[in-house]
Symmetry: C2
Subunit: 330 residues, 2 copies
């Protein structure tokens, strides 16, 4: 009680971030846990990490379940670590809306680097509320950034709308596909073609790899065939992540994309766009909190019963609830 004594199990964000900068992985893990749980403690972390961040380069790895993203991340970390740099990996597990948490827990698949102090690996999930991961991911990235990690890899599961938003928060986005992976139309439908800076055909030793490359190149030709040649055109890299084959080429392609962004002053504009998105999300999330409060009371239940009995339509009921907000919001 006499002054701020550093406790071994501190929850003070400023203290934890200093410990993390000094290489304390447990402090780093604790900060990410605070972010995951959300609420005022997470906001306090944000206030500490935000001014210390903006130095790390972030790489998103995304694709359909089973595409081999974790194995590829593993191989990429091996290449990166050969150069001596430290790296942080965030594996994003969108919560099941029903169980509300990650199933896999610790990343046994990343076992190659489990004993390497230069690699920090963490799975992340949130309690399934709307916008949860979209808000928590940039916060967690800032924690790793503020802790002094120069490279951050974000691995996202899935191809849904939320996942695409999360992926949009990386400087370079790698989209992983497999031989025989649907047709090009499916690729476009999922919105992945539009977000890819680099395409990877993983498991390229399997039959159909050349067809998949052909499909991707054809789609890229449609998109970039007549474009300004100085524009970035996503390269297509073949890998066999389980053996590490192609990982060095992928790392080079990421490097070329990074150089392209920096040379053309695009990195700042990308990050500005990203921050604009994040700020809009935060404002929306705060308004959603109010929506939830409105949806918890007896008046909500009464109006819902009116809608169920078809005395009132849903939009009119919502109007009545929002009318309450205007009058009585503290």
């Amino acid at each position: 009680m006499l002054g701020a004594v550093a406790s071994p199990r501190s929850t003070d964000p400023a203290e934890l971030i200093e410990q993390a900068r000094g290489g304390d992985r447990a402090a780093l893990a604790r900060l990410i846990s605070i972010i995951e749980r959300g609420g005022p403690p997470a906001r306090a972390v944000s206030r500490v990490t935000h001014p210390r961040s903006g130095h790390a380069y972030t790489i998103g790895i995304t694709g359909a379940p089973g595409a081999g993203k974790s194995t590829l991340t593993n191989a990429l970390v091996t290449v990166l670590r050969a150069g001596g740099d430290h790296v942080g990996v965030l594996a994003i597990d969108p919560s099941s809306p029903f169980t509300g948490g990650a199933i896999l827990g610790d990343r046994v698949r990343m076992g190659d680097h489990a004993l390497d102090d230069g690699v920090f690996i963490r799975s992340m999930a949130t309690r399934g509320h709307l916008g949860g991961l979209a808000l928590a991911t940039p916060e967690a990235m800032r924690v790793l950034d503020a802790a002094g990690l120069p490279w951050i890899i974000i691995e996202t599961v899935g191809v849904g709308q939320v996942e695409v938003e999360i992926t949009g928060s990386a400087d370079t986005t790698v989209v992983v596909v497999n031989p025989g992976w649907g047709d090009a139309v499916q690729a476009n439908k999922a919105g992945l073609m539009e977000i890819a800076d680099v395409f990877v055909i993983n498991k390229a030793d399997r039959p159909g790899a050349e067809d998949t490359r052909h499909d991707l190149e054809q789609m890229l030709e449609l998109g970039f065939g007549g474009a300004d040649p100085s524009q970035w055109r996503p390269p297509v890299i073949a890998t066999v992540a389980s053996t590490g084959e192609g990982a060095a080429e992928l790392w080079q392609a990421i490097g070329r994309h990074r150089a392209h962004l920096i040379e053309r002053d695009l990195l700042v504009s990308r990050r500005t766009a990203r921050l604009t998105d994040e700020l809009q999300h935060i404002v929306a999330a705060k308004l959603l909190e109010r929506a939830r409060a409105l949806a918890a009371g007896a008046r909500f239940d009464r109006l819902r019963d009116d809608v169920l009995a078809r005395r009132l339509d849903p939009w009119s009921a919502a109007e009545l609830l929002l009318g309450d907000l205007h009058g009585g919001d503290s």
Copy 2:
């Protein structure tokens, strides 16, 4: 200008719904288009359809891209039509956040029923704004319901969070998997195990079908092994949708699930929960509109620049913007 003369291209919702009830498919299509576009005209449709709905039984068909959902829907419609009932099919295409629309357009795949007046088939997409499909889908279902269709099938692409929410709006949810479809852990991660009322192994003539059945049954045993035997345990049906094999068994399984819900008075509680969700979504969407307005002004840009320059953290910036809302919201 003298009184309300029924025009052949009416946009009056009450008139359109009367035409749709009389079997006018073009009127029905026009109502769905109004719902897709959203805004006040969509709200006007809702006010007309809501009091006339609540009679249709809804079936959701969901699963990963390429699982054969459309072919299965096609086969199910064939079985259903053999009994003489009319049916509406909504195929939900989550918009790409970048192209903002459905790619496939009309459903050539449903060609078997293209000339059948007893089948109404429609693809639906929205302009990619948050909650768009989650809000539009129940509205579109009410249109088909109010038009007098006793059965509605909703086919959803993808396995993301938004898609799972949409699927939750059906009375019976069918989850479609394929032989070799990842492992059971992947199934759980995607949140599909929790929402399935019936599992289908489609393309069951391919190798690995028995392994997939074994994985699913094992997972179900974990979930239901010790449960009250009167609880519904999702059956696992094998189909080859392209030949129609197994479609009759699937239809029977859906019928058993429906009977289970009705016998145990669960249909009403399911629909109440669903409506509660919908009402919360609507309130949230209306608040989001306000968030967007806040994010469009010069003050937003100024605060964002402060955040970019790290003079201010994102959450504090959001607080300042929301402070504006309290003072100046009309």
